[in-house]
Amino acid sequence: MKLRKSVAVSENGFVFNASRGDSFSANPTGARILDWLRDGKSEEEMKTLLLDLYDIDETTCEKDLYDFLKVLKQHNLLDV
């Protein structure tokens, strides 16, 4: 699971997929995960990173990450 090469993420969370011309806006948590995906991090690794960084419990973290990845797939932003 990796971010498509055609996808650019700017610092303020603006996301552009050049291959389709779609643009998106992500919140800071979302943008951070997009960066990790670009680096090829696994779901498990990202979960650990989130738990380290943020004040959240494990269930919420897992649920939200799962949901976010589903949405990215729906928007054709991931190579699967």
Binding site: V15, D22, S23, F24, S25, A26, N27, P28, T29, G30, R32, I33, L34, L53, Y54, D55, I56, T60, K63, D64, L65, D67, F68, K70, V71, L72, Q74, H75, L77
Partner: protein
């Protein structure tokens, strides 16, 4: 000492930006947290009375009533409101309106009994509707209540009642008409344009068994056209003036019914309800100026009765609820399941209710389908609403739910919740207790042969 300070968490979101498609216009409502109602924290209300919960503001009810009353009373000398019981017949609510001076307007024996029990004098209870039995008529005649006749069958059965009792009922006929607004509500009452209304009037006057004291109409509900009221008023005044001319009878009152729009947003319209709903002043101006110019001598101007329902109470009602779960639908849309649905929020079928989070919320928003908790496909509170990211356990406030929900709510799948009224000093009062299984089953009886089983 904790050195490793963690960041405040916000659920990750990404939202597609639609270039070229303009956003729906109108203010983006609902993102500001609505943490208090009349000074009481939503959180505390839910802690004390549970979730979901209906909350009513006595202060808002009184302010709205006074605004409506003065809009009419400043333009016309002789104005009387009659509280439309079916809109919200919690006794506490009815009594606020009665304290403010409103009579009662009822459409069933059940509502009639409620008004009597609340202490409304019989001659100040207007009995409307197509469903009145002979016994209902008897009681209403004995109490001297104005009876608004809906159809010829009612007219004849009321004549029989008057003969039997040897008493003259006080009556009005309900008139329906073309006011230029579709659909024409011609299913209730006697039609003006076809002459049915005039025929009914003749019948009442010529048989001389009842006193024709008024004329009534209710031209529709959520009427966004104020002009329709000018048309209706002119036609009602025309009937009254003809009665005076031909028979010398003074019609004591014209009852223009209800129908003023509240500030809710109707489904399928892009316009925000709060921006398009006419004010009480605009309705009052049409009705009162038409009536004053209609041709009555100033000392013979009839009493103007109004049966305004939703516009008097919608703003004062709130539904508090809690997020049960979030989901992702197969097409990628987000769905949020609330602990209240169309069982309690009947008006979700008509309105796009404004919904606010009740706690500090994220600035990021998401389009969400808002479902109720019922195991039924119809249980959709909002088909699409942009809301800040909500998590399980978060609380929300649904606005403008004072009309028709606390009467049309369904006891379906779950029990009806508490209703709390916040008085003008900011004190909460439980005005209807949450239902219990015992309360609901007390009316049931199980035949002996069905009382036991072996599984």
């Amino acid at each position: 000492m904790e050195t490793n300070q963690k960041l405040k968490y916000e659920r990750p979101v990404i939202k597609q930006l639609n270039t070229g498609v303009t956003n729906k216009f109108g203010p983006q409502m609902g993102f500001m947290p609505h943490t208090h109602i009349d000074g009481i924290a939503v959180k505390d209300l839910i802690n004390t009375y549970g979730s979901p919960l209906f909350v009513l503001s006595e202060r808002t009810i009184r302010q709205t009533y006074q605004e409506a009353f003065s809009a009419f009373a400043n333009r016309y000398p002789n104005v009387q409101f009659a509280w439309s019981y079916k809109t919200n017949y919690m006794n506490a609510v009815c009594n606020i309106f009665h304290q403010e001076g409103a009579w009662a307007e009822v459409v069933s024996r059940f509502e009639y009994e409620k008004a009597l029990k609340n202490g409304v004098p019989g001659d100040k209870i207007i009995f409307n509707g197509p469903d009145k039995t002979t016994d209902d008529h008897m009681v209403a005649v004995q109490n001297n209540s104005p009876i608004h006749i809906d159809h010829l069958d009612e007219l004849y059965s009321l004549m029989a009642v008057s003969q039997k009792l040897g008493k003259r009922p006080k009556v009005a006929i309900r008139v329906n008409m073309d006011t230029g607004v579709q659909p024409i509500w011609d299913r209730f009452g006697f039609n003006y344009e076809s002459g049915q209304a005039w025929d009914a009037i003749l019948k009442i006057i010529q048989t001389d068994r009842m006193d024709l004291v008024g004329l009534h109409c209710h031209i529709g509900t959520f009427m966004l056209s104020t002009n329709a009221y000018a048309v209706a008023t002119a036609k009602m005044a025309d009937l009254a003036l003809n009665i005076k001319r031909q028979f010398g009878i003074d019609i004591q009152y014209l009852d223009l019914g209800g129908g003023f729009a509240s500030r809710n947003t109707l489904k399928g319209t892009y316009l925000n309800g709060a921006d398009v709903a006419p004010s009480f002043h605009e309705y009052a101006e049409q009705i009162c100026s038409t009536l004053i110019r209609a041709g009555f001598r100033s000392e013979e101007l009839p009493l103007l009765i109004l049966e305004t329902g939703r516009a008097l109470i919608d703003d004062a009602g709130f539904m508090l609820g809690t997020v049960l779960a979030n989901k992702r639908l197969s097409d990628g849309r987000r769905a949020t399941i609330m602990d209240f649905g169309v069982n309690l929020l009947f008006t979700a079928f008509w309105y796009e209710h404004t919904i606010s989070p009740a706690q500090e919320c994220s600035q990021y928003t998401e389009d969400t389908v808002l479902y109720g908790p019922l195991c039924m496909n119809i249980d959709v509170v909002r088909e699409s609403i942009r809301l800040p990211l909500l998590n399980k356990g978060d609380q929300v406030v649904v606005h403008r739910v004072g009309a028709y929900n606390m009467t049309q709510w369904m006891q379906f799948i779950s029990l009806r919740p508490n209703i709390v009224l916040i008085d003008t000093d900011g004190q909460p009062h439980l005005i209807r207790k949450a239902e219990t299984v015992e309360y609901l089953t007390q009316l049931e009886s199980t035949p002996a042969h069905l009382s036991a089983f072996d599984l």
